[in-house]
Structures are given as C-alpha cells and as structure tokens.
C-alpha cells in the first residue's frame, strides 16, 4: 500500500477530533453552550430550561419587541393574507408587496436612496460585501469583524486587509501603505456596536479617514440599529454622520424582533446589486410574517425613545453593579456587557452555574471572541426591569462567593 493510501483518514469526520474533544469537555462540565434547549419561551425576558423558569439575558432582544402585541398581530395577519412561505427567491418568484414596502420604509428612515432586504442578517453582509467588492477593489476590515463580514470577503476575489480594532489611525496607515488602487476602490467595513464586547466604533473618525482616501464606508449596525440615535438608526446617527455613510446594513433578528436583514445606500446605483448578489438571488425570500413583523417593529423603533432610555438605564445599572463587584468588563456600559473570565473551562462552569441558578447569558469562547477571551456575555433588553437587573446582579454576586463550590464541582465532573 502506498503512503497516500496509508495516510487516508478513517472517516471524513476525523479532522474534527480536536473540536470533538473540546465539546466532550464542555459536556462533562455541563450543557452544550452551542446547542442549548429551551423547554419554552414565555416572554421577551423569561424562558424555561429543565422545567424551571429562567431570566433571559443573552437573546439580543434589545427592544423586547418579540412579544409586542402590534408586531405579533402584524405577523399573524400576514400569514392570513399571504400564507406561510414565499417558496422561492425574489429574482425567480418575484417580490411581495411587503418586501417592497419594508425596503421603502427603511430607506426613508435611514435617509438613503436605496435599500435591499435579505432573508437573514448573515446573508446580508455576505451578499452586500461580496457584491460590492470586485477583482480590483481592496477591502479594509476591522480586526473584530463578525463572521458574516469575514465570510463575505471570502466570496470575493478582492484583497482583504485587516486593521486594528476601532482604530482610525491604524486604518489610515494601512490605506496609505496600500497606496493608489489601480482600477479599483477601497471598501472599509466596520460595525457600529461590536457584538462580543459591546464596544462602540468612532464612526465619525472612520468617515473622515475613509473619505480622505477616496474610499467607501460600509457599517454593519446589526447590534446598534434600534438601540442608538435619536430615531434609532444606530451609531452613525448617534454620532451625526449617518448622511456620510455609503452603505449601512442591519438585521431584523435583534431590535426588529424578526428574522432577515437589510443593506441601504446613499448611492442609488446600489440597486444594480440585486442582479449580482448571489446570497440574495439564490435563496428563498423572507416570509410575509417575518417581513410584516419587522415592518411594524421599524415603526416602534422610530418612536422608541422610551424603550432606548430604559435600555440605557438598565445597561448602566448592570455595568456599575458588576464593576463594583470587581468583575473585569470588556467595555463601557452598553446593551452588551461582556465579563471576562480566566479561561474557557472556568467560563463554561460558571455559565452552567448561572443557568442552574435561574439566569441565562451567553458563553462566548475563542475563536469567536476578540483577544482569545472567554466571556460571560450579557445582552440586555428594554423589557428588562430594574428588578430583573437586580436578579442578574445577585446571581453574579453569588457566583463570586461560591467559587470554592464551583471549583470542587468542576473537579468532580471532570474526573468522572
């Protein structure tokens, strides 16, 4: 037998053996953090796990609209009117009235010339970035960009250069280093609020640097649309530069309490991308109920100052409470509060302990996190009350005072 045959793996899954070991370790410690099962979702802030009620603080339900009566009614009426599914893509099966209406309402809200809606938030960045960047263009991407931005760059034949996170000077340096782009353009991709640490981009400075170099600025406001700005358009609006943004993307699955996404542009020529973007053209369009729930939620966002005010209050309450306890928090107060833990095993153990004690947050570990950090990530909702935050704070306080119990529990589970 020759060497090639001798070295053939026994199974197509063998390459995942190291990952399987990591999962096995996680399962020894407790639950599968990437496959958690809820028995029930009761409201925007409550669910059930193992038959017990649990406080939800890791669902990105920033405005708490998933159980809003008007949004639920809009979704139900859409099913009655147009059925349960679209059974195909917009290029093959055509657009429904509600797709067009949502694009118009979002474009108006953002003050943009063009807006395209997509079936998921992930597909939005995948489609728009891969559609915008061509052979001769160069993408400059923030180092902490979300996986859908990275995957969007992988679908292009453009070069992609990473710049240091939230650092306009570093972008400036890399744009200078690149020099003139022959027959192409620079596309700079940033996010408004970053999903893991909850830190905010200096968008105004990025606008300045990008446009000084003649580039186009693309901002993903998935975690900030609805949450920031006087009318909820996001961080760019909050910093007074929304009209300078070339492309702005977002998702329906966070503040808009549905599933889907959008990309809007101040350039009306963006419309041509409908004939180019493969993740738009070759997938089924969003269902009438998803679109109509998002349509209603956009109206709630526009008038949502009270929701945003409460969300801000709750963020400050939690951030200051955790800081006083001495927890290492990754950024200033925002609806995402990430608590840095010593390592993956400790974070996993603590995440399980929190669930057993009535609180659901996210366990976030490398490589999905910046700086190879292991995090207990909390996302807050406008539906959280002051009392809910006190429950969270009590849980984190108890977590701190029960470290000894935690360590012995972990040792016994790991040695089983």
């Amino acid at each position: 037998m020759n060497n090639v045959l001798k070295n053939t793996p026994l199974s197509i899954f063998d390459k995942y053996a190291p990952l399987q070991s990591r999962v096995d370790l996680m399962m020894k410690i407790g639950k599968d953090a990437l496959g958690l099962k809820f028995d029930d979702i009761i409201s925007a802030t409550r669910g059930k796990i193992d038959g017990r009620e649990i406080l939800l603080a890791g669902t990105n339900n920033y405005l708490g609209l998933t159980f809003d009566n008007d949004c639920m009614t809009a979704a139900k009426n859409a099913v009655d009117r147009h059925g349960t599914g679209t059974t195909g893509s917009r290029v093959a099966n055509g657009s429904y009235d509600e797709h067009i209406q949502l694009e118009k309402i979002l474009a108006d809200h953002l003050g943009m010339e063009s807006c395209v809606v997509f079936t998921t938030g992930y597909q939005t960045n995948l489609a728009a970035i891969s559609g915008l960047a061509g052979d001769n263009d160069v993408i400059f991407m923030d180092a902490d960009a979300h996986a859908c931005v990275i995957d969007g760059t992988r679908l292009t034949s453009s070069s992609t250069i990473r710049f240091r996170h939230n650092n306009p000077e570093d972008l400036d340096k890399r744009l200078k280093r690149q020099g003139d782009i022959s027959n192409g353009n620079a596309l700079v991709v940033i996010e408004g609020m970053y999903s893991m640490f909850g830190d905010i981009a200096p968008v105004d400075e990025f606008v300045d640097v990008t446009h000084r170099h003649g580039g186009y600025l693309y901002i993903d406001e998935a975690h900030s649309y609805g949450v920031f700005g006087p009318t909820g358009c996001g961080i760019a609006e909050d910093q007074g530069v929304l009209d300078k943004i070339d492309f702005i993307s977002g998702t329906f699955s966070k503040s808009l309490a549905s599933v889907g996404g959008f990309c809007a542009s101040r350039h009306k020529e963006f419309e041509i991308l409908r004939k180019v973007m493969r993740p738009y053209m070759f997938t089924a369009s969003a269902t009438p109920s998803n679109i109509c729930a998002a349509l209603m939620a956009v109206e709630k966002v526009k008038e949502g100052q009270n929701l945003r005010n409460n969300l801000k209050k709750r963020s400050i309450q939690l951030h200051s409470g955790l800081s006083e306890m001495g927890y290492d928090i990754c950024a200033d107060a925002s609806p995402v509060i990430a608590v840095r833990r010593a390592n993956e095993a400790v974070a996993a153990m603590e995440w399980n302990w929190l669930i057993e004690n009535g609180v659901y947050v996210n366990l976030a570990v490398p490589p999905g996190t910046p700086q190879s950090s292991s995090l207990l990530r909390i996302s807050l909702s406008a539906a959280h009350t002051e009392a809910d935050i006190n429950i969270l704070l009590k849980a984190f306080s108890d977590l701190k005072s029960n470290q000894q119990e935690l360590i012995s529990k972990m040792s016994s589970r790991l040695t089983k």
């Binding site: 991407m141 180092a143 760059t153 992988r154 070069s159 992609t160 250069i161 990473r162 710049f163 240091r164 340096k173 890399r174 280093r177 690149q178 490398p366 490589p367 996190t369 910046p370 190879s372």
Partner: protein
C-alpha cells in the same frame, strides 16, 4: 530597512508568536501554526498585523488562508519584502 533574511523573519515570527504560545511549544520551520502551536485563527491574523507593521508590507487575508506552517509564513513575508 535593508531586506530581511529568512532567518531574521523567522526570529521575528517566533518573537511575535510568544504571547500566543503559552504552552511554549517548540517553534520550528515546519510547525503548524494552528495545529502544532495551537494558535487560534483570530490570533494568527493578529500576529500577521504585527508582521505587516514591522516590515511595512500589506499581507492580505487571502494569502494567509493558504499558509499552514511557520516556514510558509516566513517565505511569504520574504517575498513581500523583496
């Protein structure tokens, strides 16, 4: 800066790898960056930014995707600094 040699580039990579190699795996030319040294994919890109700044070159992400070992990385940097 005069053109760096392969050895100088290798030494620089070893220096920049230190914070990502807490288990102190021995670093050789044929060490797999992610496989042998257990550096995660995000940390590899952070390491590359350090190399870009030190040698004042652009190392696009698509180039890095094809690189598996320390030796392959030093060859890529060598070519970009020629």
């Amino acid at each position: 800066m005069s053109k760096p040699t392969r050895k100088e580039i290798h030494d620089k990579i070893c220096e920049l790898l230190k914070p990502y190699n807490p288990k102190n795996h021995p670093i050789k030319e044929n060490s797999g960056i992610m496989t042998d040294l257990e550096v995660d994919s995000v940390a590899v890109f952070d390491l590359v930014m350090g190399l870009e700044d030190f040698y004042d070159v652009s190392i696009p992400m698509e180039l890095i995707s094809d690189i598996r070992t320390v030796g392959e990385l030093s060859i890529a940097v060598k070519e970009l600094t020629e």
